[in-house]
Symmetry: C2
Subunit: 315 residues, 2 copies
C-alpha cells in the first residue's frame, strides 16, 4: 500500500474531503456539512472526526501511512497559517492547520486559500497537469484565482496573492464591487457580471436578441449559449467580457509569465468557445511575443479544491 494524503476543502455549506495516493489518484471522497454556529467552532473537530472515521477506521489506513492533510479555506491565509477572518465560516483569528494537526496526533497539516489551492489542484491533476507554472482563473459567482510558480502557490506576504478578481480593469465603471473598488475584473467577468453586462446592453439599445425573453432574469449561461448561436447582442456582451479578461491575462503573463492559464468555474462550462474569445483579446495585448502562456480549461470541477489541498501538504 502506497503512502496517502488527505485533501479538505472547507466551504460555507459543506466540507469536501478526499483520500489520495501521493501519486495523485483519488481513493475516495466524501462530504460533511459545515457547522457554522458559534463562530464555526465545531468545523475543525468535525473534520478531524470524519478523517478518523472515514480513513483510519473504514479504510484501514494508519497515521504512519499518511503524509499529511491539506486544507483550503474561503479567506486569506497568511504565510504562517494565520487566518484573521473567514466570513463564510464565522472564523476569526485562528490557526486552523495547527488546530487540526493537534487533533490528529501531530500529523502535518497545511492550510491555504481555497482559490489558490484549487489552482494547485488543477496544476497537479487537472487542466494544467504536466506544468509547473500556471495561473488559474475561476469564473463563478465571483472571480477567483491562483498563481502557481515552480509548483508552489504564490500566497503573497499579506495573503493577497492571486486575488485576480479584484484587479482593476475598467476605468469607466461606475458601480462598486463587493470589495469596495470600482471596475474590478469580477464586475464584468463573473457569472453575475456577464448577466449584468447583458442587462446593460439590452437597456442601452434595441438590438433584437433571444436574451430579451429572459429579460432581467438573464444568466451568464443564456449569454454564452446565445453567443454561440450568433446572437448579435450576446456577441457584443462577450466582446466586452473577452476584452477585460484578455487584458487581465496579458497583465498576468507580463508579470509572472506562466506556461498556461487554466479557466475554471461555472462560466467555463461554455468550453472552447470561451477560450477562443479570451485568447483573441489576450493575443491583442501580447504583441511583445508569440512565445507565451497558452489558455485552456480546468478539468477537475468542484474536486479541484480537494486535489489541491492534498497536493499542498506534499510540499
Amino acid at each position: 500500500m502506497g503512502k496517502k494524503c488527505i485533501g479538505v476543502d472547507v466551504g460555507g455549506t459543506s466540507v469536501k474531503l478526499g483520500l489520495f495516493e501521493i501519486t495523485g489518484e483519488l481513493v475516495k471522497k466524501w462530504e460533511i456539512p459545515t457547522r457554522k454556529e458559534e463562530g464555526g467552532k465545531y468545523i475543525i473537530n468535525d473534520i478531524a472526526d470524519s478523517i478518523l472515521h472515514q480513513v483510519l477506521a473504514q479504510e484501514n489506513v494508519s497515521f504512519k501511512d499518511i503524509e499529511g492533510v491539506g486544507m483550503g479555506v474561503p479567506g486569506p491565509v497568511m504565510p504562517d497559517g494565520y487566518v484573521e477572518v473567514c466570513v463564510n465560516l464565522g472564523w476569526r483569528e485562528k490557526y486552523p492547520a495547527k488546530e487540526l494537526s493537534d487533533l490528529l496526533e501531530g500529523l502535518p497539516v497545511k492550510c491555504g486559500n481555497d482559490a489558490n489551492v484549487a489552482a494547485l489542484g488543477e496544476m497537479w491533476q487537472g487542466g494544467g497537469k504536466g506544468y509547473t507554472d500556471i495561473v488559474m482563473i475561476t469564473l463563478g459567482t465571483g472571480v477567483g484565482g491562483g498563481v502557481i510558480i515552480d509548483e508552489q502557490i504564490i500566497t503573497g506576504k499579506h495573503g493577497l496573492g492571486g486575488e485576480i478578481g479584484h484587479i482593476h480593469v475598467r476605468d469607466e465603471e461606475t458601480e462598486h464591487c463587493n470589495c469596495g473598488g470600482v471596475g474590478c475584473l469580477e464586475q464584468v467577468a463573473s457569472a453575475t457580471g456577464i448577466a449584468r453586462e447583458a442587462r446593460r446592453k439590452m437597456a442601452a439599445a434595441d438590438t433584437p436578441s433571444v436574451l430579451r425573453e429572459a429579460g432581467d432574469q438573464v444568466t451568464a449561461k443564456d449569454v454564452l449559449d446565445a453567443a454561440k448561436t450568433g446572437d448579435i447582442l450576446a456577441l457584443e456582451v462577450m466582446e466586452v467580457v473577452g476584452h477585460y479578461l484578455g487584458v487581465a491575462l496579458a497583465s498576468l503573463a507580463l508579470t509572472v509569465d506562466p506556461q498556461m492559464f487554466v479557466i475554471g468555474g461555472g462560466v467555463s462550462k461554455a468550453g472552447q468557445y470561451l477560450v477562443e474569445v479570451i485568447n483573441r483579446h489576450y493575443a491583442q495585448y501580447m504583441p511583445i511575443s508569440e512565445n507565451r502562456g497558452t489558455i485552456g480549461l480546468a478539468k477537475l470541477g468542484n474536486d479541484a479544491g480537494i486535489y489541491g489541498a492534498a497536493r499542498l501538504v506534499l510540499g
Copy 2:
C-alpha cells in the same frame, strides 16, 4: 579575506563590472566599452579579460575565492540561460553564461534580464533591503520591472516575467507603443510618456503653465518640478500618470502581493512627491486590504545592475 562574487551589467554603450564581498559590500567597480561590432562577438571575451586583469591580477583574488559571476543583459533570458536576441548588443542565439564560464576556468556564471537583475540588486542592498519579496518598477526612457519572490527572480517560462512596462492600462490610447501594443504603462509612465502627456494637455486646453515655456521640448523633469510648485497643468499630468501607475501597482499587489514596491529610474529622482502621488492612486484600487505592500524609492541608481548580477550567482 572573505569570499567574493562579481556582478556584470552589460549595456549597449558600456559594460559595468563590480567585485563584491558575498555579504554585499562593493569592493571595486569599473567599466569597459561595449564592442557591438560583428554581432557583439567580442563582448564576452572582453568581460573575461577584464575580470582576469582587474580582479585576479590587480586585486590578488584567485579563482577559489570567487563564488561566481552574475550577468545582466538587455533582453529576455530563458530559464536555461538561452538568449534568442539582444538587439542592443547585436547578439542572436547565445548562451552567454556558458560562454563566460568557459573563459573563466568553469567558474559558475548566471545570466538574467537586466531589469530583473536590477530588481534583485535593490532587494539585496538597495531600497528593498531586508525584504524577500519586492516588485521594482524602473521609470526611465521606458518602463522596466522585476518581480522578486522569496529572493528569486520570477523570470517566467518565456522570459516575460516582470515586463511591467507593457501591461495594458489605458483603453482610450490610440498611439502604438514600441512593443506593438496600444495603451501600455510605458506609454504614460516613462519619462517619454510623461513628456508626451504634458504636450497633449498643453495642446488640449489653454491652462496657463510654466511648462509652456519649454513647449514641445518639455521633459518629465520639467513636469515633476512644476507639479511640486503647484502648477495646475503639471498636476493634471501627474494625476493621469499616478492613476495608471496606481492601477498597475494594485494589479501587481493582487497577483504576487510583495512586501514592497521599489520605484527607480530617472523619473524617480522626483523623490517622495512621486511616491505620494502613486500611493494615493494605488490605495484607491486596493480597498480590499490596508495590509498591503508599501511603496518606496530605489537607492542604488545605476549600480543596481552590478549589485543584482552579483547577488544572482549566490542563488
